[in-house]
Subunit: 401 residues, 2 copies
């Protein structure tokens, strides 16, 4: 059991990741099928007899199914209060990556809702992904893993909920890539979703975001240890390249003012330069290396590649609207809550505003909140206190309608 | 001879890079000395009998001495109208990297001024750098090259001008790292500089810029082909890592709106996804790889490392002001022109404003212009037409005073 003080008021307590094997193959956008597919998941709260209180929480690029509560895995929590994306992939250890948002009395209130979180398709924390064994070869998929899309992730989530006997969702919620999944749910299964909570997300990543993701993937693929994707079992992994990818990602998750506030130009060793290119000289250089080192220990490089590719492909207007976002959202029946953060330059508020305008132009119920906060994209993991009343109020309306 | 049409009105014509060997060792901030030091340089215009019409132009991270005119080197010009940092290191080929700014009737008017540009200390285009032979070993310096600073670059420029018999400078001018050198000149040699033209630069890179540079260097140093810096003569070089470094740099030189305008989310092959992680799928992905490939063919990775380190160290307030920028600039006697660009997020206008305010608080002559332009940091190489009247007017004042 964890020490009592790690369980804050409103904790869902000690939790366990479970697994489901889907009975049927998952048909993918690329034309291939995946079978078998295993899905790792956690649940919090109690499923109502009518199965009408389910909220599906979708995680972001580096996350996993452990969204809330305390896992009894031996490793400690990765929550550290800054650079919160660290939490967004606690890989079953310590507190869940959205523990501040999920629990009794919290934004996603487990006294009312049955909250489900799965590790996404292509993941490396229990759900079938590139490191899983390909039944055709009895070897890990590696380079033979199919290139997946956000829609493929959502189809997998749909098939998983079928196994649990859950037809409808009271809400789908997520930040970043998780928000993309929520939007995709509303388009693919309009009759099965009552509400969307889309946080720090977009209908299509802007070109600079596409570029950052491309650079991160190239950093991994240019690492000779990547071996074309077939590094499993070779005793080496592209940790050097994935470290660089993580450092790029990390800086895009934070805002420039947040870096000034946290690190400034402080040197590692008081005010003395050491005249070195190999060693960190500024505090932020040391911090970045630490972030890279801790990430590569817990995450699979191929999962990073396939997930990053999926989120750059995501483009509702192209996929479903012939170039028109309103066209793509025409069939949506869910009520939509959008939350964006003023300092998020990777998923800027403008994208949420575009979704809001498209939905409004279609006469669909939507509200968009832009929270003034300095920590960039990571706000969706950090600004729990300010998101909570907005989300609770939005979900309460659902109940009363 | 180049075809006539490549020589625009106001061209300085065909030019040649020349070389000077400094007679004395250069004393470095790190405590070491470098000897011998060779400096590559070009000159444009005519030195006045009183030697009072000299403008020193300093280049940025990836530049060289070939700032203007047409070089008869066999390779073609790298000017391509976008991603202008490409020009900022044409490595003696084609048109100079600031050809639009230097020539008869141009911003730096060679009908009046004798313009000098050197390849900076640590460079890879003729001036002594990490790829030069260390006389102590008869091998390239590689990992044994000293960690240099912007002040070391400026001391080398000072020693070089001594060889040419030039005592005073009518102006020192540069963009980005070139602007840092100009500021350093005014602090180190206050009695020898009449005017500064500091473009898209700063008194100290902000923490996010420190982070990008750190990531770029790590990308190079994590490439096994880097071999601790001693890759010369081994038949391999850290091209994979330097390509990633260049891609990171390239995106920081441009603005997000410029990427939307130029690339949007256009796919390489019409509207068909190919479902690939290894091949470029978006135009911007292909563009980035092209930028990386062309850069690694012309630039030395160790020069990138040492130059990047120098520009992150640069911090006038720390070096000379005990933390106060005004304190650092107290001894400056040069008139100062600052130009910044509204969309430059790597060297944002705020930094130029801070320099302006510090100089103004000291009662020193300064003017600061923030040009509204969309192309980010690269504007200093692209927005020639809008910088020209500002610079000409500023330099004309000097003549009349």
């Amino acid at each position: 059991m964890p020490p009592a003080q790690t369980l804050s008021t409103g904790s869902v307590g000690t939790v366990e990741t479970r697994y489901v094997d889907l009975p049927d193959p998952v048909a993918l956008d690329c034309g291939r099928e995946l079978h078998p597919v295993r899905v790792a998941y956690e649940t919090y709260g109690t499923l109502s007899p009518g199965k009408d209180n389910v909220i599906l929480v979708c995680h972001a690029l580096s996350g996993d199914a452990h969204a809330a509560g305390f896992s009894t895995s031996p490793a400690g929590s990765t929550r550290d209060g800054f650079g919160a994306e660290d939490r967004d992939g606690s890989a079953g250890k310590g507190l869940g990556w959205w523990d501040g948002m999920i629990g009794p009395g919290k934004a996603f209130d487990t006294d009312r809702f049955f909250v489900v979180c799965t590790n996404l398709l292509g993941g490396c924390s229990g759900t079938t992904g590139p490191s899983s064994v390909d039944p055709a070869t009895n070897q890990p998929y590696g380079s033979n893993f199919p290139v997946i899309t956000v829609a493929d992730m959502v189809r997998t989530e749909r098939a998983f909920l079928d196994v649990l006997g859950i037809e409808r969702l009271a809400a789908v919620a997520g930040g970043s890539l998780g928000g993309m999944q929520a939007l995709e749910w509303a388009v693919l299964y309009p009759d099965q979703v009552d509400a969307l909570v889309v946080i720090a997300s977009t209908h299509a990543l802007h070109p600079q975001g596409v570029a950052w993701n491309s650079i991160a993937r190239d950093a991994i693929m240019r690492d000779p240890a990547w071996q074309g994707g077939d590094y499993y079992g070779t005793g080496v992994a592209p940790s050097a390249g994935m470290g660089v990818a993580r450092m790029v990602g990390h800086i895009t998750y934070l805002s420039a003012p947040a870096l000034i506030e946290r690190f400034g130009r402080r040197l590692q060793f008081a005010e003395d330069l050491r005249y070195t290119i190999t060693e960190p000289e500024f505090e932020i250089e040391s911090y970045l290396r630490h972030q890279a080192d801790s990430f590569v220990r817990r995450f699979d490089a191929n999962t990073y590649l396939f997930t990053s590719r999926a989120l750059t492909y995501f483009d509702l207007a192209r996929q479903y609207g012939g170039g028109s976002l309103a066209g793509a959202l025409d069939g949506v029946s869910a009520r939509t809550l959008l939350i964006a953060f003023s300092s998020d330059w990777l998923y800027p508020p403008a994208a949420s505003r575009e979704i809001e305008e498209a939905l409004r132009s279609l006469g669909k119920p939507v509200e968009c909140h832009v929270i003034e906060a300095p920590y960039g994209h990571d706000c969706f993991l950090l600004e729990e206190a300010r998101q909570t009343p907005i989300i609770r109020q939005f979900l309460a309306k659902e109940r009363s309608s």
